[in-house]
């Protein structure tokens, strides 16, 4: 192209081409930027940042000492700080730096975070002996370790305290695991057993069949369980006594001292004293805790394991339901139905159902599955537990069914596409060799289209894993006491409510009392969810590409 002046260049239309290119650039940046944002925010949360100690003086007020982690730093117009009532002079400087300091110790100060003006911080330092204590309640503690006590007796103080602390913490954590195992395992089993006995009794009562024999038998069974429980309880009390034995004395930034029982401690570390290796180790241990542990403190700390488990369970059940039905419908539409106006209409309708808002499926699930089907099933099969609903309320089964309905169009469309891609010659070859239509279907067509089905299923799973709106109506809860699959009869609890990663994000991000503290965890959860879904999608894409190659080879 000859270089002309601006007008001719403009007339050639290339600015528009560039604008279009810009749109692609923007879309790509938006996607990648968003992923990067989630990744950075989600992954940095687990890194043990340095804890600073500094003197802070708001002009006209006494100096205080602050200990905490700097989480955000931003520049704000002085005008705004002035408006917030801080003694700053908007005439002198236009902008000031502001930092958000995580000071922890919610039990002492009421809030975890504090905004400070960076200019007023003095003498910033990172003493190595600052300890960070992760607790089961009240959030983190930042401060200095003074003493370690055993049953009220001082066993270490000063410099020795840190060395004496670690074994004590490990011991307490060991006991915690034991208690937890006992409570959810054996005692949970007894409770489930007792509930089953109660329901049997109520069932007999309803049938007017509660004879004295049966009563006595139930009573005997109940006694067995109660005795078992008494035994375990004694065990538990011992464990709790041991658990509460040790405590530490710590000093917070304002000089206040506090005793913390080790039973409330999850983890103790000195971030400023950690070397890079120790920090990496700490990072991965936190990461592991995040994916394998249960949430603490109204879901704002700890892990998301129950949510991962719930999501996986729901998606698995959904796949089991959706695959056969989706494939069946697709096979019918493509192989058996007469290709005419009706089939075309049905195909369009099915296609469009994929575009129907998911909340509509939620409403349908709630009305049809839960209230209509569930309510009637309860009347017929679970009258003994009424008025407490069994299947007449949201739960794993209904959630899976609702999502199966939501994703069945995806499977149908993908499978159909796979079926159309199978060359006619193969079908005709099979029929010509004398195979019946069903044999052709089972032995030739279905195996050949199985990658397409896989693709459909993976896409369905990816969609189901990210869907939240319908689940809010059909059985997701913010905190489920037990997993839907556990050691108590009947092992798989289809009627149980469950936790879900997507809903977890919504709930912790928007319904949590302490959003600021929970936010990093939400980013981490989001990253996890995006990771799972991206992996599923890439799997689907690569299977699809592989499939195309295969048929290309066949056609030639």
């Amino acid at each position: 192209m000859k270089q002309g002046n601006f007008t001719t260049w403009f007339k050639s239309g290339s600015p528009w081409v560039w604008m279009n290119a810009g749109a692609v650039a923007i879309a790509v940046i938006m996607t990648l930027g968003l992923l990067l944002l989630i990744a950075v925010r989600g992954l940095s949360h687990f890194w043990p940042a340095d804890v600073i100690e500094a003197e802070y003086t708001i002009p006209g007020q006494p100096t205080i000492t602050l200990i905490g982690e700097v989480t955000t730093r931003e520049q704000v117009p002085t005008e705004r700080l002035h408006g917030a009532g801080l003694p700053v002079d908007p005439e002198k400087t236009e902008f000031m730096d502001r930092e958000l300091l995580k000071v922890g110790n919610r039990d002492l100060y009421g809030a975890d975070f504090r905004w400070i003006v960076a200019d007023w911080l003095e003498n910033e330092r990172t003493p190595e002996d600052i300890v960070v204590i992760e607790r089961r309640e009240w959030g983190n503690f930042y401060g200095y370790l003074l003493q370690v006590k055993q049953a009220g007796q001082l066993i270490a103080e000063g410099d020795q305290a840190w060395t004496a602390l670690q074994p004590a913490v490990d011991r307490a954590l060991g006991i915690y695991d034991e208690i937890h195992a006992l409570e959810t395992g054996a005692i949970g089993k007894i409770n489930a057993e007792l509930e089953r006995i109660r329901l049997r009794e109520r069932g007999y009562e309803l049938d007017n069949a509660l004879t004295d024999d049966r009563k006595a038998q139930l009573e005997a069974e109940r006694k067995v369980q109660n005795d078992l429980y008494a035994e375990l309880e004694a065990n538990l009390i011992d464990l709790y006594r041991e658990f509460n034995r040790d405590s530490i004395r710590v000093r917070a930034m304002d000089g206040r001292e506090k005793d913390i029982n080790l039973s409330a401690v999850v983890r103790v570390f000195q971030p400023n004293a950690m070397g890079p290796t120790a920090k990496v180790g700490h990072y991965f241990s936190k990461l592991w805790e995040f994916v394998s542990d249960e949430p603490r403190e109204a879901n704002t700390e700890g892990g998301v394991f129950p949510a991962i488990f719930g999501t996986v369970m729901m998606v698995l059940l959904m796949s089991i339901i959706v695959t056969p039905f989706g494939v069946l419908a697709a096979v019918y539409l493509r192989e058996y139905a007469k290709q005419g106006a009706v089939t075309r209409t049905i195909r369009i309708a099915v296609n469009n159902l994929a575009g129907v808002p998911s909340i509509v499926y939620g409403v349908f699930g709630l009305g049809f599955f839960i209230y209509l089907l569930g309510g009637n099933i309860d009347q017929l099969f679970f009258p003994e537990s009424l008025p407490a609903p069994t299947l007449g309320t949201g739960g794993l089964l209904w959630a899976s069914l609702t999502l199966a309905l939501l994703t069945v169009p995806v499977v149908i469309v993908a499978t159909e596409e796979g079926l159309t891609r199978i060359p006619r010659s193969l079908r005709e070859g099979s029929l010509a060799l004398g195979a019946t239509k069903s044999e052709t279907l089972w032995k030739v067509i279905l195996p050949m289209s199985s990658p397409a089905m896989m693709t459909g299923l993976i896409l369905a799973v990816a969609r189901a894993a990210g869907e939240v709106a319908p689940l809010m109506l059909v059985g997701v809860v913010k905190l489920a006491p037990t997993l839907p699959l556990n050691g108590n009869y009947p092992y798989l609890h289809l009627d149980q409510k469950f936790m879900h990663l997507g809903f977890h994000i919504y709930d912790v991000g928007f319904q949590s009392p302490n959003v600021e503290a929970a936010r990093p965890l939400v980013y981490a959860t989001a990253l996890l969810l995006v990771g799972v879904i991206a992996a599923l999608n890439f799997a689907a894409v690569s299977i699809r590409n592989h499939l195309r190659e295969k048929y290309k080879a066949l056609e030639n």
Binding site: F6, G13, S14, P15, W16, V17, W18, M19, A21, G22, A23, V24, A25, I26, A27, V28, I29, T31, L34, I38, E79, R80, F325, L328, A329, Y332, E335, Y336, I348, A349, N351, N352, L353, G355, P357, I359, G362, V363, F364, L405, I412, T436, K437, E439, W442, G466, V468, A469, L473, G502, F503, Y506, G509, F510, V522, V530, I533, A534, N537, F538
Partner: protein
């Protein structure tokens, strides 16, 4: 198989029993599979289509009218023909009824068969007769009797429910909340022609009339917190006589207004809080010879229902215009025209009233929905009293001949009509008709405001702002990717966009609400300048690039422009945000948000339409992109090559040939994107304040149909009107998206055929 059987040489026999069995089995399997697939496949499709039918099934009862059905008709032995009823009422279960007669006889009886349960005489002082009567409100269960000696007596009917031997037993009783002694209302001792009362825990207002003279007294009761002792203080209101004979007096429950019906066509409104000052004299009935025949207050006591001799019913309430409240006609009902209205009876829990005319016809109406649910005769002859149960499921009628009849009433959803869902409705205490969604409230006298208009508006507003961002971006990106982009790059870009599509909306919503919204609030000038500067900078960069020496220019092959622009966009974004604070300080006094609100008068919510537009735009871009890209990419090559060969520039080819050919595809992409934006739930739920307002302001939020369902559905009572209206909202969403998608699909199919023929 064959007729010629090679019996000797061939050893294969195809007709052995085993082979036959095998063939039969294969045949059976084939048939079985055919049926199995057909039944299963159709079953799945039917199940999916069931959604539509089920939603319809839940919604349809909303639009049904009312039905009544006569159960029993009897004449009770204790009813005397010359002792007409003053009041008829029923308790909660519709089992026990009460009848108060002019003689002062109060009878509690079984509503189904008329068997007397308890009969009692009102403690009327010796020598006095009942001359007037009034019910306070149906749910206070209090009534007042005016006597011929100028005194009044207040009574209350109560019901106690017990379950001896698991059988429900309802024990009625008559109580006197202000004592059995009659209270003197007219100090001159004249017979009270009309009487009215209104009470609450702080006191009681009584009013009466003698001809056109009015008397009223207000008793305030103070309870000592410690001892519980009551002190009563009485103050009389000096009221001017009305201009005509008073035919009815009503006092609202807040004891603010007294309505005096007088002189056949007028209602005088007196302000009780201003010592009975006349607010105005209103002519409520038009036309010569037409007169007011019946007036009653609706539930909540705000609205007056006026029935006249022409059979017309009108709803009036006090509207606070500019300072001075005026009694205003709100709506009228003419379904019973022709016969004079004899009785008006409000329901206890809903804004529904019953009207009986002199021909004995019953009409059931809902005021909010401007809805006539039923007009049906209650049998031969006139009706002298009618009572509706508190649950509005039973009706008790006393006929002119002294017979009683007991009816079942089915009227589940009177609040809903086409006009109440989609039109402007003049709600009680509102200055003018409006679109309002407000489904729940603290008091039971609340008028549910179930207009879908603000929600639909919010849905369209959210979709509009999302499309505003997404349409140009997605189409431009699709055109570039399909037409200009180098294939190698295209293979990398497409999976990224597909990933964008797969991002769960809950994550987008969370980022929009917790990251983008505060970011936008702090950097508003930055965002605005980014939106304005982006195209300018693109063109400037492109021009600059075209002026570069060819040596550098040619290093980047054609179709890779987008990669060059990535750092430009990033740099620009960074610059805009870095500049934001300075722009804010220089032009907007340090805070653009304050500037907008204070100086421009534009409301600013943190979670606003701009945030939703950006976040939902992000969600919609890949949908539009994929379909539009597909449409542009499949434009037959020979068209473009022909155009280029004739000397058109690539852009001319694109804009005059490619886009024109692919335009139906692009259009259907936009429609499908629109469908997605309309139905999206999580983003709007998390990124807006969910306030149902109707305002196009980009800095304010909205409440969409889908978010509304997500918020309100879990708390809605199964089978209630609210529940069904939420189903209706879902049905609206379903139908809308389904229609959009079907239209888009049909357009695409036609396009595909066109391409095939080219």
């Amino acid at each position: 198989m064959t007729t010629q059987s090679p019996s000797k040489t061939s050893s294969v026999d195809f007709n052995t029993p085993a082979m036959q069995r095998h063939r039969a089995m294969r045949h059976f399997k084939d048939h079985f599979t055919r049926w199995y697939v057909a039944v299963g496949g159709l079953g799945v499709i039917v199940a999916v289509l069931l959604i539509f039918l089920y939603l319809l099934y839940e919604v349809l009862p909303l639009f049904g009218g009312a039905e009544i059905e006569e159960r029993e008709r009897y004449s009770a032995s204790w009813v005397q023909a010359d002792d007409p009823p003053l009041m008829l009422a029923m308790e909660e279960q519709g089992e026990v009824a009460i009848r108060v007669a002019r003689s002062g006889q109060v009878s509690f009886f079984n509503a189904r068969d008329g068997k007397a349960v308890l009969q009692q005489q009102l403690p009327i002082p010796a020598g006095a007769q009942v001359t007037s009567f009034s019910v306070e409100t149906p749910n206070s269960r209090r009534f007042v009797v005016g006597l011929s000696n100028g005194q009044v007596l207040i009574a209350q009917h109560d019901y106690k429910v017990t379950y001896p031997d698991d059988v429900r037993l309802i024990t009625p009783s008559l109580n006197f909340p202000y004592g059995q002694e009659a209270i003197t209302l007219d100090e001159q001792g004249r017979a009270l022609d009309q009487v009215a009362m209104s009470s609450d825990s702080n006191g009681l207002t009584l009013a009466g009339s003698i001809g056109s003279d009015l008397v009223a007294t207000s008793v305030s009761i103070k309870r000592n917190m410690m001892t519980g002792a009551e002190t009563r203080s009485e103050s009389r209101l000096a009221l001017d006589p009305a201009q005509g004979e008073v035919t009815r007096i009503l006092i609202d429950p807040l004891r603010q207004w007294m309505y005096v019906v007088n002189g056949e066509q007028h209602i005088d409104v007196l302000a009780l809080r201003k010592k009975g000052e006349l607010n105005g004299r209103y002519k409520v009935v038009e036309g010569m010879g037409t007169s007011i025949t019946s007036v009653n207050l609706m539930l909540g006591g705000i609205s007056l229902i006026v029935g006249d001799s022409s059979g017309e019913l009108k709803q009036w309430f006090m509207v606070r215009g500019n300072g001075h409240p005026l009694l205003t006609e709100v709506r009228d009902f003419d379904q019973q025209q022709g016969e004079s209205i004899a009785l008006i009876q409000p329901e206890e829990r809903r804004k529904v009233f019953l009207a009986v005319d002199t021909a004995g016809q019953l009409g059931i109406y809902n005021s909010t929905a401007h809805n006539n649910l039923l007009v049906e005769p209650l049998g031969e002859g006139t009706v002298s009293a009618v009572a509706i149960g508190p649950r509005a499921d039973h009706l008790l009628v006393e006929h002119g001949n002294g017979e009683l009849s007991y009816w079942d009433v089915h009227n589940e959803h009177p609040e809903i009509s086409w006009s109440s869902l989609w039109g402007k409705v003049w709600y009680e205490s509102y200055p003018e008709p409006d679109y309002v969604w407000q489904s729940t409230s603290a008091t039971s006298e609340f008028e549910p405001k179930l207009s879908l208009a603000p929600l639909t508006f919010g849905t369209l507003k959210a979709a509009f702002y999302a499309m505003l961002l997404a349409t140009p971006l997605a189409i431009a990106a699709a055109v570039y990717t399909a037409y200009f982009m180098a294939p190698a790059l295209r293979r990398k870009v497409k999976p990224i966009i597909e990933l964008m599509e797969a991002l769960p909306t809950v994550i987008l919503g969370f980022l929009a609400g917790l990251w983008l919204a505060p970011l936008l609030e702090d950097n508003l000038p930055g965002i605005v300048s980014l939106l304005i500067l982006t195209p300018i900078v693109f063109i400037a960069f492109a021009y600059g690039w075209s002026r570069l020496p060819a040596r550098i220019r040619l290093r980047v092959p054609e179709g890779w422009e987008a990669v060059l622009l990535i750092p430009v966009v990033m740099l620009l974004g960074w610059a805009c945000f870095a500049m934001s604070v300075y722009i804010e300080a220089w032009f907007f006094g340090g805070d653009m948000r304050v500037f907008l609100t204070r100086d421009m008068g534009i409301n600013f919510d943190q979670r606003n339409s701009l945030v939703v537009g950006l976040a939902m735009g992000f969600a919609v871009i890949p949908t539009i992109f994929s379909i539009a890209e597909d449409a542009v990419f499949s434009v037959p090559r020979h068209l473009t090559q022909g155009s280029l060969a004739l000397g058109a520039t690539p852009w001319q080819t694109l804009s005059r040939v490619v886009i024109l050919t692919a335009s139906p595809g692009i259009f259907s992409a936009v429609m499908i994107g629109m469908g997605r934006a309309v139905g999206e739930t999580m983003i709007v739920l998390m990124a807006t304040g969910n306030t149902p307002i109707m305002d196009w302001n980009i800095f304010e939020g909205m409440r969409t149909l889908s978010a509304n369902i997500a918020v309100e559905m879990p708390e809605s009572e199964v089978g209630s009107t609210h529940y069904r209206v939420l189903f209706l909202a879902a049905l609206v969403l379903l139908s809308f998206t389904f229609l959009m998608n079907t239209a888009a699909e049909l357009i695409r199919q036609r396009l595909r055929k066109k391409y095939a023929s080219l």
